[in-house]
Amino acid sequence: MSHKVVVTGLGATTPIGGDVPTTWANALKGVSGIKKLEDSWVEEYQLPVYIAGRVAQDPLESGRLSKVEAKRQDPSGQLALVAAREAWADAGFSGENAEESEGVDPLRTAVSFGTGIGGVWTLLDAWDTLREKGPRRVLPMTVPMLMPNSCAAAVSMALNARAAAQTVVSACASSTEALDLGLELIRSGKADIVIAGGAEAAIHPMPLAAFAKMQALSSRNDDPQAASRPYDVNRDGFVMGEGAAALILESEEHAKARGAKIYAELAGTGVSADSYHITAPDPQALGATRALKEALEDGDIDPTTVVHVNAHATSTPVGDIPESLALHQTFGEHTKNIAVSATKSMTGHLLGGAGALEAILTVKAIEERKAPCTINLDQQDEQIDLDVVTDARELPSGEIVAMSNSFGFGGHNAVVAFRSYES
Protein backbone atom coordinates (compact mmCIF):
# COMPACT_ATOMS: atom_id res chain seq x y z
CA MET A 1 0.00 0.00 0.00
CA SER A 2 1.07 3.55 -0.65
CA HIS A 3 1.58 5.75 2.38
CA LYS A 4 0.24 9.25 2.73
CA VAL A 5 3.08 11.71 3.43
CA VAL A 6 2.81 14.68 5.76
CA VAL A 7 5.10 17.52 6.78
CA THR A 8 5.88 17.62 10.49
CA GLY A 9 8.96 19.82 10.81
CA LEU A 10 10.49 22.86 9.14
CA GLY A 11 13.98 24.37 9.29
CA ALA A 12 15.73 27.09 7.31
CA THR A 13 18.54 29.56 7.38
CA THR A 14 18.12 32.21 4.71
CA PRO A 15 19.01 35.76 3.69
CA ILE A 16 15.91 36.98 5.55
CA GLY A 17 16.23 34.96 8.75
CA GLY A 18 18.32 32.50 10.72
CA ASP A 19 15.32 30.23 11.24
CA VAL A 20 11.83 29.54 9.89
CA PRO A 21 9.85 31.87 12.21
CA THR A 22 12.07 34.85 11.33
CA THR A 23 12.19 34.01 7.63
CA TRP A 24 8.41 33.62 7.48
CA ALA A 25 7.73 36.83 9.42
CA ASN A 26 9.99 38.74 7.03
CA ALA A 27 8.40 37.09 3.99
CA LEU A 28 5.04 38.45 5.17
CA LYS A 29 6.50 41.90 5.79
CA GLY A 30 8.32 42.11 2.46
CA VAL A 31 11.85 42.38 3.81
CA SER A 32 14.72 42.15 1.33
CA GLY A 33 17.81 40.14 2.25
CA ILE A 34 19.89 41.50 -0.62
CA LYS A 35 22.92 43.62 0.18
CA LYS A 36 26.00 45.06 -1.42
CA LEU A 37 29.00 42.75 -0.97
CA GLU A 38 31.82 44.43 0.91
CA ASP A 39 34.41 41.68 0.38
CA SER A 40 37.89 42.70 -0.73
CA TRP A 41 37.63 40.42 -3.77
CA VAL A 42 34.91 42.61 -5.28
CA GLU A 43 37.48 45.34 -5.80
CA GLU A 44 40.36 42.96 -6.44
CA TYR A 45 38.68 41.27 -9.39
CA GLN A 46 36.55 44.23 -10.45
CA LEU A 47 33.46 42.06 -10.38
CA PRO A 48 30.64 43.40 -12.56
CA VAL A 49 28.05 42.21 -10.03
CA TYR A 50 28.53 42.71 -6.32
CA ILE A 51 25.13 42.26 -4.71
CA ALA A 52 23.83 39.05 -3.14
CA GLY A 53 21.74 37.60 -0.35
CA ARG A 54 24.02 36.22 2.33
CA VAL A 55 22.49 34.26 5.20
CA ALA A 56 21.10 36.62 7.81
CA GLN A 57 22.74 34.66 10.63
CA ASP A 58 26.24 33.21 10.88
CA PRO A 59 25.69 29.43 11.24
CA LEU A 60 27.96 29.43 14.29
CA GLU A 61 25.54 31.79 16.01
CA SER A 62 22.56 29.52 15.42
CA GLY A 63 23.36 27.31 18.40
CA ARG A 64 22.91 24.35 16.06
CA LEU A 65 26.50 23.90 14.91
CA SER A 66 29.72 23.41 16.87
CA LYS A 67 33.01 25.02 15.89
CA VAL A 68 34.58 21.65 15.21
CA GLU A 69 31.66 20.62 12.98
CA ALA A 70 31.98 23.89 11.11
CA LYS A 71 35.66 23.19 10.38
CA ARG A 72 34.71 19.89 8.76
CA GLN A 73 31.99 21.26 6.52
CA ASP A 74 31.94 23.42 3.48
CA PRO A 75 29.73 26.49 4.13
CA SER A 76 26.95 24.65 2.29
CA GLY A 77 27.23 21.71 4.68
CA GLN A 78 27.19 24.05 7.67
CA LEU A 79 23.96 25.61 6.49
CA ALA A 80 22.47 22.18 5.75
CA LEU A 81 23.15 21.06 9.32
CA VAL A 82 21.62 24.20 10.81
CA ALA A 83 18.43 23.82 8.77
CA ALA A 84 18.13 20.06 9.31
CA ARG A 85 18.54 20.37 13.08
CA GLU A 86 15.94 23.10 13.29
CA ALA A 87 13.53 20.93 11.29
CA TRP A 88 14.24 17.92 13.52
CA ALA A 89 13.63 19.96 16.69
CA ASP A 90 10.52 21.54 15.19
CA ALA A 91 9.09 18.08 14.47
CA GLY A 92 8.98 17.48 18.22
CA PHE A 93 11.06 14.31 18.38
CA SER A 94 12.07 13.43 21.93
CA GLY A 95 15.83 13.46 21.21
CA GLU A 96 18.37 15.37 19.18
CA ASN A 97 18.71 12.59 16.62
CA ALA A 98 17.00 9.40 15.49
CA GLU A 99 18.83 7.16 17.95
CA GLU A 100 17.85 9.25 20.95
CA SER A 101 14.25 9.76 19.87
CA GLU A 102 11.49 7.53 21.13
CA GLY A 103 9.54 5.72 18.45
CA VAL A 104 12.04 6.61 15.72
CA ASP A 105 13.91 3.86 13.89
CA PRO A 106 17.20 5.13 12.43
CA LEU A 107 17.02 2.31 9.89
CA ARG A 108 13.75 3.76 8.62
CA THR A 109 14.93 7.38 8.65
CA ALA A 110 16.35 8.76 5.41
CA VAL A 111 17.86 11.91 3.97
CA SER A 112 17.11 13.37 0.56
CA PHE A 113 19.07 16.53 0.02
CA GLY A 114 19.84 18.70 -2.97
CA THR A 115 22.52 21.13 -3.94
CA GLY A 116 23.17 22.93 -7.18
CA ILE A 117 26.92 23.37 -7.07
CA GLY A 118 28.18 21.58 -3.96
CA GLY A 119 31.27 22.61 -2.00
CA VAL A 120 32.50 25.32 -4.32
CA TRP A 121 34.25 27.32 -1.58
CA THR A 122 36.17 24.23 -0.47
CA LEU A 123 37.10 23.30 -4.02
CA LEU A 124 38.41 26.72 -4.93
CA ASP A 125 40.15 27.32 -1.60
CA ALA A 126 41.98 24.03 -2.03
CA TRP A 127 42.95 24.99 -5.58
CA ASP A 128 44.32 28.32 -4.29
CA THR A 129 46.26 26.47 -1.58
CA LEU A 130 47.69 24.01 -4.07
CA ARG A 131 48.89 26.78 -6.37
CA GLU A 132 50.23 29.04 -3.63
CA LYS A 133 51.66 26.52 -1.16
CA GLY A 134 51.87 23.17 -2.91
CA PRO A 135 50.22 19.79 -2.38
CA ARG A 136 51.46 19.32 1.20
CA ARG A 137 49.18 22.11 2.37
CA VAL A 138 45.99 20.79 0.76
CA LEU A 139 43.77 19.70 3.63
CA PRO A 140 42.84 16.02 3.88
CA MET A 141 39.17 16.87 4.41
CA THR A 142 39.00 18.62 1.04
CA VAL A 143 37.28 15.83 -0.89
CA PRO A 144 34.59 14.97 1.67
CA MET A 145 33.85 18.68 2.04
CA LEU A 146 33.56 19.49 -1.64
CA MET A 147 31.64 16.45 -2.84
CA PRO A 148 28.05 17.32 -3.70
CA ASN A 149 26.70 14.59 -1.41
CA SER A 150 28.42 16.17 1.60
CA CYS A 151 25.21 17.86 2.77
CA ALA A 152 23.21 14.63 2.67
CA ALA A 153 26.06 12.83 4.41
CA ALA A 154 26.39 15.49 7.11
CA VAL A 155 22.67 15.43 7.85
CA SER A 156 22.63 11.63 7.89
CA MET A 157 25.56 11.55 10.34
CA ALA A 158 24.12 14.23 12.59
CA LEU A 159 20.62 12.75 12.81
CA ASN A 160 21.51 9.02 12.49
CA ALA A 161 19.44 8.62 9.34
CA ARG A 162 20.46 5.17 8.14
CA ALA A 163 17.77 4.15 5.66
CA ALA A 164 19.43 6.18 2.89
CA ALA A 165 21.26 9.46 2.36
CA GLN A 166 20.59 10.50 -1.20
CA THR A 167 21.56 13.58 -3.16
CA VAL A 168 19.67 15.18 -5.98
CA VAL A 169 21.61 17.50 -8.25
CA SER A 170 19.53 19.34 -10.84
CA ALA A 171 20.67 22.95 -10.51
CA CYS A 172 17.90 25.19 -9.24
CA ALA A 173 15.38 22.35 -9.21
CA SER A 174 17.57 20.22 -6.90
CA SER A 175 15.76 20.56 -3.62
CA THR A 176 12.28 20.34 -5.14
CA GLU A 177 13.38 17.10 -6.76
CA ALA A 178 14.74 16.09 -3.34
CA LEU A 179 11.19 16.44 -2.01
CA ASP A 180 9.94 14.29 -4.88
CA LEU A 181 12.48 11.61 -3.96
CA GLY A 182 11.61 11.95 -0.28
CA LEU A 183 7.94 11.40 -1.04
CA GLU A 184 8.78 8.23 -2.94
CA LEU A 185 11.00 6.92 -0.13
CA ILE A 186 8.02 7.05 2.22
CA ARG A 187 5.30 6.03 -0.21
CA SER A 188 7.24 2.95 -1.21
CA GLY A 189 7.60 1.90 2.41
CA LYS A 190 11.39 2.27 2.56
CA ALA A 191 11.31 5.00 5.22
CA ASP A 192 8.97 6.41 7.87
CA ILE A 193 10.79 9.73 8.06
CA VAL A 194 12.77 11.67 5.48
CA ILE A 195 14.78 14.80 6.15
CA ALA A 196 14.40 16.46 2.77
CA GLY A 197 15.86 19.74 1.68
CA GLY A 198 18.67 21.57 0.00
CA ALA A 199 21.58 23.90 0.59
CA GLU A 200 23.75 26.28 -1.34
CA ALA A 201 26.63 28.56 -0.44
CA ALA A 202 28.11 29.80 -3.69
CA ILE A 203 28.56 33.53 -3.14
CA HIS A 204 32.15 33.30 -4.25
CA PRO A 205 33.76 35.53 -6.89
CA MET A 206 34.09 32.72 -9.46
CA PRO A 207 30.38 31.73 -9.65
CA LEU A 208 29.46 35.42 -9.48
CA ALA A 209 31.75 36.15 -12.43
CA ALA A 210 30.48 33.14 -14.37
CA PHE A 211 26.76 33.81 -13.79
CA ALA A 212 27.36 37.47 -14.62
CA LYS A 213 29.09 36.53 -17.85
CA MET A 214 26.07 34.56 -19.00
CA GLN A 215 23.94 37.67 -18.35
CA ALA A 216 21.92 35.80 -15.74
CA LEU A 217 22.49 38.21 -12.85
CA SER A 218 20.97 41.57 -12.11
CA SER A 219 23.59 44.30 -12.26
CA ARG A 220 21.56 46.75 -10.22
CA ASN A 221 24.53 47.18 -7.88
CA ASP A 222 23.49 50.66 -6.81
CA ASP A 223 20.13 49.54 -5.45
CA PRO A 224 20.54 46.00 -4.02
CA GLN A 225 17.12 45.68 -2.40
CA ALA A 226 15.39 46.55 -5.68
CA ALA A 227 17.52 44.22 -7.79
CA SER A 228 15.46 41.04 -7.51
CA ARG A 229 12.18 42.05 -9.15
CA PRO A 230 10.38 39.05 -10.65
CA TYR A 231 7.61 39.89 -13.13
CA ASP A 232 8.50 43.60 -13.16
CA VAL A 233 9.13 45.16 -16.58
CA ASN A 234 12.51 46.41 -15.41
CA ARG A 235 13.86 43.08 -14.15
CA ASP A 236 17.36 42.39 -15.39
CA GLY A 237 18.42 39.09 -13.88
CA PHE A 238 18.45 37.08 -10.68
CA VAL A 239 20.35 37.86 -7.50
CA MET A 240 22.39 35.11 -5.90
CA GLY A 241 21.30 34.02 -2.46
CA GLU A 242 22.61 31.38 -0.10
CA GLY A 243 21.10 29.27 2.60
CA ALA A 244 19.51 25.95 3.39
CA ALA A 245 16.06 24.59 4.09
CA ALA A 246 14.84 21.23 5.33
CA LEU A 247 11.46 19.60 5.83
CA ILE A 248 10.64 16.57 7.92
CA LEU A 249 8.48 14.34 5.76
CA GLU A 250 6.76 11.54 7.60
CA SER A 251 4.24 8.86 6.83
CA GLU A 252 0.84 9.88 8.13
CA GLU A 253 0.55 6.83 10.36
CA HIS A 254 3.97 7.39 11.90
CA ALA A 255 3.24 11.06 12.56
CA LYS A 256 -0.16 10.27 14.07
CA ALA A 257 1.21 7.48 16.24
CA ARG A 258 3.57 9.88 17.96
CA GLY A 259 1.02 12.67 18.13
CA ALA A 260 3.04 15.01 15.92
CA LYS A 261 1.84 18.37 14.76
CA ILE A 262 1.04 18.08 11.06
CA TYR A 263 1.59 21.20 8.97
CA ALA A 264 0.26 19.90 5.67
CA GLU A 265 0.19 16.89 3.39
CA LEU A 266 2.78 16.58 0.65
CA ALA A 267 0.08 15.46 -1.72
CA GLY A 268 1.88 15.15 -5.03
CA THR A 269 4.96 15.90 -7.03
CA GLY A 270 5.77 16.21 -10.70
CA VAL A 271 9.07 16.23 -12.54
CA SER A 272 10.00 16.54 -16.19
CA ALA A 273 12.86 17.48 -18.47
CA ASP A 274 12.73 19.94 -21.36
CA SER A 275 15.38 18.51 -23.67
CA TYR A 276 15.26 21.91 -25.31
CA HIS A 277 18.19 24.14 -24.31
CA ILE A 278 20.88 23.89 -21.64
CA THR A 279 19.92 27.16 -19.94
CA ALA A 280 16.94 28.78 -21.66
CA PRO A 281 13.46 27.64 -20.70
CA ASP A 282 11.27 26.23 -23.44
CA PRO A 283 9.18 29.24 -24.56
CA GLN A 284 6.18 26.94 -24.96
CA ALA A 285 6.72 25.69 -21.40
CA LEU A 286 5.80 22.16 -22.38
CA GLY A 287 8.01 20.54 -19.75
CA ALA A 288 6.93 22.87 -16.96
CA THR A 289 3.30 22.24 -17.87
CA ARG A 290 3.80 18.48 -17.80
CA ALA A 291 5.40 18.72 -14.35
CA LEU A 292 2.50 20.81 -13.03
CA LYS A 293 -0.10 18.43 -14.45
CA GLU A 294 1.77 15.43 -13.15
CA ALA A 295 1.83 16.90 -9.63
CA LEU A 296 -1.94 17.45 -9.76
CA GLU A 297 -2.55 13.94 -10.98
CA ASP A 298 -0.07 12.41 -8.55
CA GLY A 299 -1.82 14.10 -5.63
CA ASP A 300 -5.32 13.41 -6.96
CA ILE A 301 -5.88 17.16 -6.80
CA ASP A 302 -8.90 19.00 -8.13
CA PRO A 303 -7.21 21.96 -9.89
CA THR A 304 -9.88 24.35 -8.60
CA THR A 305 -8.71 23.73 -5.02
CA VAL A 306 -5.29 25.23 -5.85
CA VAL A 307 -5.33 28.73 -4.36
CA HIS A 308 -1.64 29.63 -4.17
CA VAL A 309 1.56 29.05 -6.12
CA ASN A 310 5.04 29.97 -4.99
CA ALA A 311 6.54 30.59 -8.39
CA HIS A 312 10.06 29.85 -9.51
CA ALA A 313 10.22 33.45 -10.83
CA THR A 314 13.89 34.32 -10.59
CA SER A 315 13.67 37.81 -12.11
CA THR A 316 15.42 37.04 -15.39
CA PRO A 317 13.93 38.69 -18.47
CA VAL A 318 13.31 35.42 -20.36
CA GLY A 319 12.77 33.03 -17.46
CA ASP A 320 9.74 34.58 -15.83
CA ILE A 321 7.46 34.42 -18.86
CA PRO A 322 7.11 30.68 -19.64
CA GLU A 323 6.08 29.89 -16.07
CA SER A 324 3.04 32.10 -16.51
CA LEU A 325 2.23 30.22 -19.68
CA ALA A 326 2.69 26.88 -17.91
CA LEU A 327 0.22 27.91 -15.21
CA HIS A 328 -2.34 28.95 -17.85
CA GLN A 329 -1.83 25.72 -19.77
CA THR A 330 -2.41 23.78 -16.56
CA PHE A 331 -5.20 25.69 -14.87
CA GLY A 332 -6.95 27.49 -17.72
CA GLU A 333 -9.62 29.88 -16.48
CA HIS A 334 -8.84 29.03 -12.86
CA THR A 335 -5.38 30.66 -13.18
CA LYS A 336 -6.82 34.06 -12.33
CA ASN A 337 -7.99 32.72 -8.96
CA ILE A 338 -4.51 31.65 -7.92
CA ALA A 339 -2.48 33.96 -5.67
CA VAL A 340 1.07 33.80 -7.04
CA SER A 341 4.04 34.79 -4.87
CA ALA A 342 7.59 35.30 -6.11
CA THR A 343 9.57 35.17 -2.88
CA LYS A 344 12.96 35.31 -4.59
CA SER A 345 12.21 39.02 -4.76
CA MET A 346 13.17 39.03 -1.05
CA THR A 347 15.54 36.10 -0.61
CA GLY A 348 17.39 36.13 -3.90
CA HIS A 349 17.94 32.81 -5.61
CA LEU A 350 19.23 30.06 -3.34
CA LEU A 351 19.90 27.81 -6.36
CA GLY A 352 19.93 24.26 -4.94
CA GLY A 353 18.36 25.51 -1.71
CA ALA A 354 15.59 27.48 -3.40
CA GLY A 355 13.05 24.70 -3.86
CA ALA A 356 13.11 23.57 -0.25
CA LEU A 357 12.91 27.13 1.05
CA GLU A 358 9.96 27.91 -1.20
CA ALA A 359 8.32 24.63 -0.21
CA ILE A 360 8.54 25.77 3.41
CA LEU A 361 7.02 29.13 2.56
CA THR A 362 4.25 27.27 0.74
CA VAL A 363 3.60 25.04 3.75
CA LYS A 364 3.51 28.09 6.04
CA ALA A 365 1.13 29.80 3.62
CA ILE A 366 -1.27 26.88 4.02
CA GLU A 367 -0.82 26.72 7.79
CA GLU A 368 -1.40 30.42 8.37
CA ARG A 369 -3.61 30.98 5.32
CA LYS A 370 -1.43 33.80 4.10
CA ALA A 371 0.41 34.18 0.81
CA PRO A 372 3.80 35.91 1.23
CA CYS A 373 4.93 39.08 -0.54
CA THR A 374 6.42 39.77 -3.93
CA ILE A 375 8.43 42.94 -3.57
CA ASN A 376 9.67 45.36 -6.23
CA LEU A 377 6.74 44.76 -8.54
CA ASP A 378 6.28 48.35 -9.67
CA GLN A 379 4.96 47.61 -13.12
CA GLN A 380 3.96 44.08 -14.02
CA ASP A 381 5.14 42.78 -17.37
CA GLU A 382 2.13 42.51 -19.70
CA GLN A 383 3.34 39.12 -20.90
CA ILE A 384 2.76 37.78 -17.39
CA ASP A 385 -0.93 37.35 -16.82
CA LEU A 386 -0.97 36.28 -13.19
CA ASP A 387 -2.50 37.57 -9.97
CA VAL A 388 0.75 38.39 -8.21
CA VAL A 389 0.66 38.90 -4.44
CA THR A 390 2.47 42.14 -3.65
CA ASP A 391 1.34 42.60 -0.03
CA ALA A 392 0.80 39.45 2.01
CA ARG A 393 -2.71 38.24 1.38
CA GLU A 394 -5.25 36.02 3.17
CA LEU A 395 -5.93 32.62 1.64
CA PRO A 396 -9.35 30.94 1.84
CA SER A 397 -10.40 28.58 4.63
CA GLY A 398 -11.43 24.98 4.03
CA GLU A 399 -9.43 22.40 2.08
CA ILE A 400 -6.84 24.13 -0.06
CA VAL A 401 -3.82 23.18 -2.13
CA ALA A 402 -0.71 25.28 -2.67
CA MET A 403 2.12 24.48 -5.05
CA SER A 404 5.76 25.42 -5.53
CA ASN A 405 7.63 25.30 -8.83
CA SER A 406 11.35 24.99 -9.49
CA PHE A 407 13.15 24.96 -12.80
CA GLY A 408 16.86 24.43 -13.30
CA PHE A 409 19.58 24.90 -15.87
CA GLY A 410 19.60 21.71 -17.85
CA GLY A 411 15.86 21.82 -18.42
CA HIS A 412 14.82 20.31 -15.10
CA ASN A 413 11.26 21.02 -14.00
CA ALA A 414 9.95 20.06 -10.59
CA VAL A 415 6.70 20.82 -8.83
CA VAL A 416 5.43 19.99 -5.35
CA ALA A 417 1.83 20.26 -4.19
CA PHE A 418 0.83 20.57 -0.54
CA ARG A 419 -2.71 20.07 0.72
CA SER A 420 -4.10 21.46 3.95
CA TYR A 421 -4.42 18.76 6.57
CA GLU A 422 -7.42 18.23 8.84
CA SER A 423 -6.70 15.76 11.61
Partner: protein, 80 residues
Protein backbone atom coordinates in the same frame (compact mmCIF):
# COMPACT_ATOMS: atom_id res chain seq x y z
CA UNK B 1 63.04 28.43 17.01
CA UNK B 2 60.39 27.21 19.40
CA UNK B 3 61.13 25.27 22.57
CA UNK B 4 59.27 22.16 23.74
CA UNK B 5 56.79 24.09 25.81
CA UNK B 6 55.91 26.46 23.01
CA UNK B 7 55.53 23.58 20.59
CA UNK B 8 53.21 21.73 22.98
CA UNK B 9 51.14 24.84 23.44
CA UNK B 10 50.89 25.49 19.70
CA UNK B 11 50.08 21.85 18.98
CA UNK B 12 47.40 21.81 21.68
CA UNK B 13 45.76 24.82 20.03
CA UNK B 14 45.73 23.07 16.66
CA UNK B 15 44.32 19.87 18.17
CA UNK B 16 41.64 21.85 19.98
CA UNK B 17 40.60 23.73 16.88
CA UNK B 18 40.40 20.61 14.75
CA UNK B 19 38.81 18.21 17.19
CA UNK B 20 37.41 20.15 20.14
CA UNK B 21 39.70 18.27 22.58
CA UNK B 22 40.52 20.65 25.45
CA UNK B 23 44.02 22.12 25.22
CA UNK B 24 44.69 21.02 28.82
CA UNK B 25 44.15 17.40 27.76
CA UNK B 26 46.85 17.56 25.12
CA UNK B 27 49.77 16.29 27.21
CA UNK B 28 53.07 14.77 26.16
CA UNK B 29 52.18 11.24 27.26
CA UNK B 30 48.78 11.17 25.52
CA UNK B 31 48.25 8.92 22.52
CA UNK B 32 46.53 10.66 19.62
CA UNK B 33 44.34 7.68 18.80
CA UNK B 34 43.87 5.95 22.17
CA UNK B 35 43.55 8.91 24.52
CA UNK B 36 42.47 11.80 22.33
CA UNK B 37 40.30 9.76 19.93
CA UNK B 38 41.78 11.43 16.86
CA UNK B 39 41.15 9.63 13.58
CA UNK B 40 43.65 9.46 10.74
CA UNK B 41 42.05 12.19 8.66
CA UNK B 42 42.04 14.58 11.63
CA UNK B 43 45.64 13.59 12.32
CA UNK B 44 46.62 14.54 8.77
CA UNK B 45 44.83 17.88 9.17
CA UNK B 46 46.73 18.50 12.40
CA UNK B 47 49.98 17.65 10.62
CA UNK B 48 49.24 20.09 7.76
CA UNK B 49 48.48 22.86 10.25
CA UNK B 50 51.54 22.04 12.37
CA UNK B 51 53.79 22.21 9.30
CA UNK B 52 52.37 25.63 8.53
CA UNK B 53 52.59 26.88 12.12
CA UNK B 54 56.10 25.65 12.91
CA UNK B 55 57.60 25.92 9.44
CA UNK B 56 58.66 22.27 9.33
CA UNK B 57 58.07 19.33 7.04
CA UNK B 58 56.58 16.20 8.53
CA UNK B 59 56.83 13.51 5.83
CA UNK B 60 53.68 11.43 5.36
CA UNK B 61 55.58 8.21 6.17
CA UNK B 62 56.68 9.76 9.46
CA UNK B 63 53.13 10.45 10.66
CA UNK B 64 52.46 6.85 11.65
CA UNK B 65 55.40 7.02 14.06
CA UNK B 66 53.92 9.98 15.89
CA UNK B 67 51.89 7.95 18.35
CA UNK B 68 51.90 10.35 21.25
CA UNK B 69 51.79 14.10 21.58
CA UNK B 70 55.36 13.84 22.89
CA UNK B 71 56.47 12.08 19.69
CA UNK B 72 55.09 14.96 17.66
CA UNK B 73 56.62 17.62 19.87
CA UNK B 74 60.04 15.95 19.67
CA UNK B 75 59.83 15.57 15.91
CA UNK B 76 58.89 19.20 15.43
CA UNK B 77 61.63 20.36 17.80
CA UNK B 78 64.29 18.35 15.94
CA UNK B 79 63.02 19.38 12.53
CA UNK B 80 62.90 23.08 13.23
Amino acid sequence: MANKEEILEGLAEIVNEETGVETADVQLDKSFTEDLDIDSISMMTIVVNAEEKFGVTIPDEEVKNLKTVGDAVNFIENAS
